[in-house]
Every structure is written in structure tokens, then in C-alpha cells.
Amino acid sequence: MSRDDQNLTEPTGSGSDKRFEALIERALRIDVPGPVARVEPRKLPRWPFIAVAASLLLAAGMLVNSLYEARYFGGDDLATDVIAHVLHEPELLVPTDAPADGAEFDQILREAGARFSVAPAAVSFVRLCPFRGHMVAHFVVRASHGPVTVLLLPNEEVDARTPLNEQGFIGTIVPLDAGGSIAVVGEADEDIEEVRTQVAGALRWRL
């Protein structure tokens, strides 16, 4: 605050006025939520927790090793990694009419650093997945012929639209104006353009 401002808005500058100003400042400083919502961990008994943690650590080590061997992440070919990921979760491509839980979809988008100005229609599955070293949102939209899977990739930059056509799947990886990209993949006879347009137009990254 400038000296002139102080003269006009804090008449005496006394201790009580300073306390008053400090009180206003404290009141204005409300808590600020983080850009990504945190999920509070559940409290578990200690020994079962250690046993579960050890099992998870062992499983994670084996998974990381197998992923490295399969060049699952750390590779340069994003298109191949996208197809590999889709094949890794084939249950997400099974046709279903059951809609995904909206609150769960929002929560996963939040954790993946994304949100939509207009939510995609007909989302049937949603999951937070490890992909090339990051947790990304992976969801499925019911398109005209069947399910189309979408990966939101804030950390993957591509220079131009990259077509995919591997192992019976077609798709595209699209760069976004705000940085990052999306991958849209369906079976060979699927029209993915509508999903691509809908998702790319409404997606916003959380900074």
C-alpha cells in the first residue's frame, strides 16, 4: 500500500488500526485447494499394511521389469505404445451400455490434470492408468459402431496428427493447442472422427 493510500484509508496508523488491517488480511486469505485433489489414505492396521505393501512392491518390481522388457515405456514410438496400452486393457473395448459414474469420471480427470468444458457423451468406462511414466486418464466412449478408447496425454507432444493402424485398430494422436495430445483408438470399422472432434474441442488441462 502506498503512503498516500495509508493516509486516506488508515486514519491513524495506530496499533488498533494495524490489528484491524491484519485481521482483514487473515480473513481474506482463505484456504486454497491444490490444482489436483488429494485422496485421503485409509487408515489400516500396521502389520497387514506392511504385508500388503511388500506384496505390492514385489508385484510392481516384476511389472516394471516386464514393461521395460516389452519397451512399454521409455520407447520413442508413441503410436506403438498407445496400441500396446489398448491391448493391455482389452476389457475396455467390450461393448456396453452401462454409463460410467459421473463423479468417478470427474475425479479421475482431476487426478489426471484434465477437465472438460462439455463432458463427452456416452462414456462407459474410465480409469487412471500408468502410461510412459505418468498417470493418465483413459476412458471409453460408445460411438456409432462400438467402443472408442481415449487417452488424455498432457505430457506427450506430437508435431502433427499421427494416424494409427495396427493390429486391427485404427486411431489418431492429435496435438492440442494448449500442449499435450490425445489418442483416440477404435476398431478398424469405427468412425473415430466424431469422438476426436468432441474430445479435442472440450478438453482443458488443469495447470
Binding site: 500500500m1 486516506l8 490489528r19 484491524f20 480473513a27 481474506l28 485447494p33 482443458r204
Partner: protein, 174 residues
Amino acid sequence: MTAAKSELELRREFDQLSRRLRPDLYRYAFWLGRDRQLAEDVVQEALLRAWKAYRDLADPSSAKAWMISIVRREFARTFERKRLETVDISDYEQQLAGDEDDPRVEEMRQAIFELEVDYREPLALQILLGHTTREIAGLMDLTEGAVLTRLHRARAKLRQAIGPDQSGDGSNKS
């Protein structure tokens, strides 16, 4: 902004800047609209707009004022689009009640919450964001005299709302 910076350097620089400023931008947006979800949406949109224009920002030292002005414009756009209803006291319970342990701060927070936006905004700009009267006048398109009047009335209303015990020595000097 220098043209020599790569896209990656600019992104890192902007990321650091937005992380540093985000808390104050969020608080400013909150005190404009008195709604946490609205504040979050406004700040997200404002940061995206800021990123798109960041390369063209001529003076990095003005980044804070520049981003505050973007938040203000984005709030106006969002408010107009959503045509938000008047907030009443029950919304204070929903938005802020229980966030603060100190009852004096809680009482003051509620008093600020109930101020008209014409008084809340310059108060937040001055106390929260450290703006001078001239800067507030420029941002709000007012004369400096009008800003000073609003700040004076804002404090008077707060003193009246919280009573002499909390507002200082009880003489109601402002």
C-alpha cells in the same frame, strides 16, 4: 518475452509463474464471486488464456497485474454466461464456514463475505494483492477518488459489522 526462448523454456517459466500466483488469483476470484467452484473454473480458464498469450507478454515484471486482469475479465465472462444468483448468508455456511479456527477471523470473513462486490473487490486488491489506489483505479476503470471512497466505506462497514471489540479501540475512527 524474448523470441529466443524455446517452447519448453516458456512452458517451464509459465508453470513456475502460475504455481506462484495461483493462490492469490484463486482468492481474488473467490472474493469476486464468493463461490469456490466458480473461482476454480475462472482461474483455470484464465491460466489457459494467459498461457496462449504468454509469449507476447512484453514485460515479465508485469505478469502478476496482467494475470489479475485476465482473471477479472474471465470472471465477468463467466458471471454473465451463468447469470449467477445473489449469494445469501446460507452460502457462506456452504463456502467458508468451519475453515478458520480463530473466531475473530471467522467473524471478519463473514463480514467481508456480506459486503457488496464494489467494496469487496478493491479491498481484496489492496490488502491481498498489494495494489496501489492508482492500480485499482486502472483495473476497475474508476477514478482514484472513487477507489479511496470505496475502501473507506468498506472498512467502515466492516467495523460496524464486527463491533468495537474486534475492530480496534472502539472509537470507530474511520
